[in-house]
Every structure is written in structure tokens, then in C-alpha cells.
């Protein structure tokens, strides 16, 4: 007779009798994967622009037309007064001011050079940055058009110009959903796995059932394994649901094999669940366990490479991400989904995860004490 069998039987019964867990497992992935990718769009649209036009010339009109027709900018104010435009920024109505000085057109023709002024509301850093960049690109384009129109045909540019064309490998249309959805799926199973396992043993502590378990000859190893396996299976089910939704709603079919994803996920889940159980053995009550797991999740997510770019972090932060399992899985997920990597391509992160899994679970078994 194997005691593990009875523990598993008991754990599964408890899980399936808990309506909250079932809801979390089935409803959470659906909502997160359907709604979040739509919201988590990297492109900045609807930048509110305020234009101060003191020139009122054909050239300035054309430039303004070009800006407003780009879909990125929304004209909120058009005036000839900078102070009025500034009030717009103060009231958070405008994100950007572009000022075209008097004599803009005249200077451009006469001196072959003209100045304009950009003021950016930097409260929202990303929006300000991207907005200014977009605007600069538009102005540059306009500048080129203007030069071409002005130059006599047949003559080459007087000044050499480097023109860049780029092509996007692995995601040709730069569909952000292709890299967001797999990433969000990783966050999702991390969240579910960590929280469910973190509150599990601690709940037995709170209800007092652990006392009754501790006086039995049950082995620690069996007890922890009995907690780990059901959540491991649930985690794989959530991934399956997630991959199905990714296909159904976004048409995402991994270039690589589903098998590769599952192999990595199987090891990854051991890391996350082990971490949860470790929290569970140290925490005194569910509140503590939730707080600790929330804190860890926050770091994992923000340093995971989904919303922030790991390569642009300072070096110490990049070192921290080396201990972040989420970063590994997001990386692997993207490689498999977008690039078609196979098992041999991901063997390094896989090995690292395996080591993580062994260390953390061993630690969890050791730190769970049947006596105090």
C-alpha cells in the first residue's frame, strides 16, 4: 500500500469540492487571455497634441495635416498662442505642443532652414518619449518630401543621406499579440500555481488539520509530494486551456512543437509549486502566505521581460533576472512559439529550471517540520 495514493485521493477530492479553485482554473485564463492582450498594446495611440501655428502658411498647413492624419495624434487645440497651449498641458488635456514660429515657410525657402519647437508633457514617460519620437519621424519625412519637391529632377542629393529599411524576423507584421499572449500565459500559470500552492499547507495549519496529520506516521516527502502533484496537473491543464485560447482567439499556433512547451512547462511548474510550498511551510497563516507570494509575483512580473526589457536593465538587475523563473519561461515560450525552437535549442534554460526545481523542492521538504 502506498500512502501517497491516499494523500493524492484526498487532495483531489478537496480541490474538486472547492468551487473557488475550479473557477480560478477555468475562468481566470479565459478572461486574462482574452482581455489583457488587447489592453497591453505597446503602440501609443491617441496622443493629444496642441498646435501653436503662428505662420498660417501652406507649408505649416501641410505639416499639420500630415501630423493629424497619422492616426497617432489627436488634435485637441489649435491656436496662435503658446500660453493657451501650455494651459492645456497644465490641465493634462494635451501631451505635446508643437509650435511653428512666424516666418516658418519664408525661412525654409529663403535660408533653406527653419525651426520649430516641441514641448512634451513628461508625466507619462512612455507616452512623452514615443510621442516625441513619432513626431520627429513625421517631421523628418515631411522634410524629405519637401526637399525632393524642391530639388531639380535629375540632380542627386547634395548631402548624403542614409535611409533605413528594416524587416521583422519571426514576427513579420510586428503583431504585438504574438509575443504578448504567450507571455501572459506564462504569467497566468505562475500566478495560479504560486498562489494555490502557497496557501495550501498554510490552510491546513490554520484549520488545524496539520496537527492531526503530524501525529501520524506519514512521511514529509509523501505529504509534500501529495500537495505538489495535484497542482502540477492543474497547471498543465491551465496551460492547455491557454494554448487553446491563443489558437482560437489569436490564431497563434507555435512554430515549434507543443511537446517542447509542455516539457518546459512541466519542469517550470515544479519550480513555481515548490516555491509556493516553501512559502507555505514558513508562513503562519494564509494572509502572510498571500502577501509573500504577491510580493514575489510582482518582482517576477516586472523583471520577467514581458512588460520591461531585460537587456536594457542595469547589470545588477539583469543578474536578478537570472533567478527569475518567469523570465526563463517567457523567453522559451517566445522562442518556441515565434521562432520554432526545439528541445535542443532550449536545453540550457531547461537545465537551469531543473536545478531550480530540485533545490527549491528539497528545501520545501526540509523546512516542513512535523514538530516544532
Amino acid at each position: 500500500m502506498n500512502p501517497l495514493k491516499y494523500i493524492l485521493e484526498k487532495e483531489f477530492k478537496q480541490i474538486f469540492r472547492d468551487p473557488a479553485i475550479i473557477r480560478v482554473i477555468f475562468i481566470l485564463p479565459i478572461i486574462q487571455l482574452i482581455i489583457l492582450p488587447m489592453a497591453a498594446d505597446y503602440e501609443i495611440k491617441n496622443i493629444n497634441i496642441s498646435i501653436v501655428d503662428r505662420d498660417h502658411s501652406t507649408t505649416s498647413n501641410r505639416l499639420i495635416h500630415k501630423i493629424t492624419s497619422s492616426n497617432y495624434f489627436k488634435l485637441v487645440d489649435y491656436s496662435g498662442d503658446f500660453n493657451q497651449a501650455m494651459t492645456g498641458i497644465d490641465n493634462d488635456k494635451a501631451d505635446l505642443i508643437i509650435e511653428l514660429p512666424r516666418g516658418f515657410e519664408a525661412d525654409l525657402y529663403a535660408r533653406k532652414e527653419a525651426k520649430l519647437f516641441l514641448a512634451v508633457n513628461a508625466i507619462n514617460g512612455v507616452k512623452a518619449n514615443l510621442g516625441a519620437t513619432y513626431l520627429r519621424t513625421i517631421i523628418q519625412n515631411y522634410n524629405n518630401d519637401f526637399r525632393i519637391a524642391l530639388l531639380t529632377p535629375g540632380r542627386f542629393n547634395e548631402l548624403p543621406v542614409i535611409e533605413t529599411t528594416s524587416s521583422n524576423w519571426y514576427n513579420p507584421r510586428m503583431n504585438y499579440k504574438f509575443f504578448m499572449v504567450p507571455g501572459i500565459l506564462v504569467l497566468l500559470i505562475t500566478m495560479i500555481g504560486l498562489n494555490l500552492s502557497a496557501i495550501n499547507i498554510v490552510r491546513e495549519k490554520e484549520i488545524g488539520t496539520i496537527e492531526q496529520i503530524n501525529v501520524t506516521p506519514i512521511k514529509k516527502f509523501h505529504f509534500i509530494l501529495g500537495k505538489l502533484i495535484p497542482f502540477w496537473i492543474l497547471g498543465l491543464i491551465v496551460i492547455t486551456i491557454g494554448l487553446f485560447i491563443a489558437w482560437l482567439f489569436y490564431g497563434i499556433i507555435p512554430l515549434g512543437a507543443y511537446f517542447t512547451i509542455y516539457v518546459f512547462a512541466a519542469v517550470y511548474l515544479l519550480v513555481i509549486l515548490g516555491m509556493g510550498l516553501l512559502i507555505s511551510t514558513y508562513a503562519e497563516n494564509q494572509q502572510q502566505a498571500m502577501l509573500i507570494s504577491f510580493f514575489l509575483l510582482m518582482i517576477f512580473v516586472l523583471m520577467g521581460g514581458l512588460y520591461t526589457n531585460i537587456d536594457s536593465m542595469p547589470e545588477w538587475a539583469q543578474w536578478v533576472t537570472k533567478f527569475n523563473p518567469v523570465a526563463y519561461f517567457i523567453e522559451v515560450m517566445r522562442r518556441v512559439v515565434l521562432k520554432g525552437s526545439g528541445l535542443s535549442d532550449i536545453k540550457q534554460p531547461l537545465l537551469i529550471m531543473l536545478i531550480f526545481a530540485i533545490v527549491i523542492n528539497y528545501w520545501a521538504v526540509i523546512s516542513y517540520r512535523k514538530r516544532s
Binding site: 484549520i207 488545524g208 501525529v215 506516521p217 506519514i218 512535523k370 514538530r371
Partner: protein, 307 residues
């Protein structure tokens, strides 16, 4: 594993001390406690809340390490022989600690199987108790009444036929009828040869034990059979009754011949000072000398211990 051969004693506690540190203060939960429990006897641990009863139980059930002393259960040291001990003891903690989301039968089955036994194998032992909740065997444990929960907990603690049974305040919060029923069940288990250590804050339950230990603030004040405890008590006790009991209590506490007066059911009990020769009870007060009960002894012991 070294096994200590002791013919009669099933539980041996010698000079066990345990203190907790909470913040900067050290709380002594058990202070140099020693006692023995005979094999197959019903031993009561009587004491108020916070006396250290649960700490002692957790030590004996191998859940808690202690600072000093030695404790043996069924011949095994609770520190080094915890694995053996966990196979042969039954523990019913003070708080209901079975799985509320499993049914009665599932709980019992689960505990039977982790002890590598079955319900059928030991059905005869729990029959008297389990038969009463068997009609509800498909009900979730969390939905049972207090008395039924307690019977289920006892069944689960007994399912592997333990040689020593630890019951931590099993009757706290249980109605009078169920309490009586419960003690009858314990007598039945005693007849099966199981050693039982039971703790209770109710002094009236002391009479139902073979031997009792009165514990307070981590020390044992007295250990003896209930009979000996009452018969070796040397003080004289009167029970008094008047028209206005509340006024009488306050008045009686002023009497110089009364050492202590406390309410006791429909009477007050007055402990008489040893030197007093003449007792003058006021008019209208009905007073008669009684044999001291076990509660009287305990109240006296606890009072003297406090001073």
C-alpha cells in the same frame, strides 16, 4: 531503537520543562513536571485555561520539543522514538481538526489508510462510537453538529487501535448529555486496555478518572486518585444558603471564621479556618457541614498556589 521496559507505566514524564519566548518575555509553560500514567488507566489532567495542558499534550504526542527532562510514551522516548510513537498513539486535539470538506466516511477512511489499516479491521473498537454517526457517513464533516464532530474525531483517533489515547479538552463546549455520553465511551475504551490521558477544565469530570493531576501555571499541584484527594483533605467545609445569595456571599466573606467562601451551585461553600472553634452563622442562614468534593480541594489548592 531503545525501548524502556516498564511494566505498569504507559506514560512517564520526568522533570519536563518548556518555556516560550514571546518578544522579550519568557513564559514558562511547563515547570519541572513529573508524573506517570499506569497502563490501561484513565488519567485526568485538570487545570484552568493556560495551565500548560495543551503544551504537555503536544510534547507527549511528539509535536513539540522541550527544554529539559525526559518523557516516555509506551516505552519510547518522545524525542528519539517519535516515529514509533506516532504509530501507536491516537491524538484528538482540542480544536476540531478533521477535513471539513471530506465526508464522515472519507475522513475515517483517510486516517485508516495512512495508518495502513482499514475501517473493517478495527471496526469492533470504534463500533460503539461510530455507529452513532454512521447514518450520516456521507455528510461532510464540516456540516456535523458539535457532538457528532467529536465522535468522528474520536473514531479517527482510534481507527488504528492506538495503545495510548490523548484527548485534549474533548468535552469543552459540549452539552451536559453529550459530555456524560463521552465519558461512558472512554470507560469502554479503557476496558479495551487503552491508556487514556484526558485533559479538562471541568473539575466535576475529575471524579470519572482513575487518577487526576491538578495542573496550574505549568506546575502540578497534586496527583492522586479522586478518592484519596478528597479524603486526605483536612479542612472543614460548610455549605450555606440564604434568601439573598449574592448578599450572603459578600457578607460571608467578612466572617472571621471563614477562610474562603465561593458560590457552588445553589449553595455557597465556606472553608472554615482551622483555628476556629465556634461558628456563628447569622439568623436565616442555613448551614451544614459537608464532605469536601474534589472541586473544593482544587479550589483550595489553586488558591494557595497563587499566594
Amino acid at each position: 531503537m531503545e525501548k524502556y521496559h516498564s511494566e505498569q507505566a504507559s506514560i512517564v514524564v520526568s522533570s519536563v520543562s518548556k518555556s516560550y519566548t514571546s518578544g522579550k518575555t519568557v513564559v514558562k509553560a511547563l515547570d519541572n513536571i513529573s508524573f506517570e500514567v499506569e497502563k490501561g488507566s484513565l488519567f485526568g489532567l485538570i487545570g484552568p485555561d493556560g495551565a500548560g495542558k495543551t503544551t504537555l499534550f503536544r510534547i507527549l504526542t511528539s509535536l513539540l520539543l522541550f527544554d529539559k527532562g525526559k518523557a516516555l510514551v509506551d516505552g519510547f522516548d518522545v524525542i528519539s522514538g517519535y516515529k514509533e510513537i506516532r504509530k501507536r498513539i491516537g491524538y484528538m486535539p482540542g480544536r476540531f481538526s478533521l477535513y471539513a470538506d471530506l465526508t464522515v466516511q472519507e475522513n475515517l477512511n483517510f486516517f485508516a489508510s495512512i495508518f495502513e489499516t482499514t475501517i473493517d479491521e478495527n471496526y469492533d473498537l470504534i463500533k460503539g462510537i461510530y455507529a452513532q454517526i454512521e447514518p450520516f457517513k456521507n455528510r461532510r464533516a464540516g456540516k456535523l453538529s458539535g457532538g457528532m464532530k467529536q465522535k468522528l474525531a474520536l473514531s479517527c483517533a482510534l481507527i488504528h487501535r492506538p495503545s495510548v489515547l490523548f484527548l485534549d479538552e474533548p468535552t469543552t463546549g459540549v452539552d451536559a448529555v453529550s459530555r456524560k455520553e463521552f465519558w461512558d465511551m472512554l470507560k469502554g475504551l479503557k476496558n479495551e486496555g487503552i491508556t487514556i490521558l484526558v485533559s479538562t477544565p471541568y473539575m466535576d469530570e475529575a471524579n470519572l478518572c482513575d487518577k487526576v493531576a491538578l495542573i496550574q501555571s505549568g506546575s502540578i499541584l497534586n496527583i492522586d486518585t479522586p478518592h484519596n484527594i478528597t479524603h486526605t483533605f483536612s479542612k472543614t467545609i460548610y455549605r450555606i444558603k440564604g434568601r439573598d445569595m449574592q448578599a450572603l456571599l459578600l457578607q460571608a466573606r467578612q466572617w472571621d471564621f471563614a477562610e474562603q467562601v465561593y458560590p457552588f451551585g445553589e449553595y455557597h461553600h465556606a472553608v472554615i479556618r482551622q483555628q476556629s472553634t465556634e461558628l456563628h452563622f447569622p439568623e436565616g442562614v442555613e448551614a451544614s457541614r459537608i464532605h469536601p468534593g474534589i472541586e473544593d480541594v482544587f479550589i483550595d489548592l489553586m488558591r494557595n498556589h497563587d499566594q
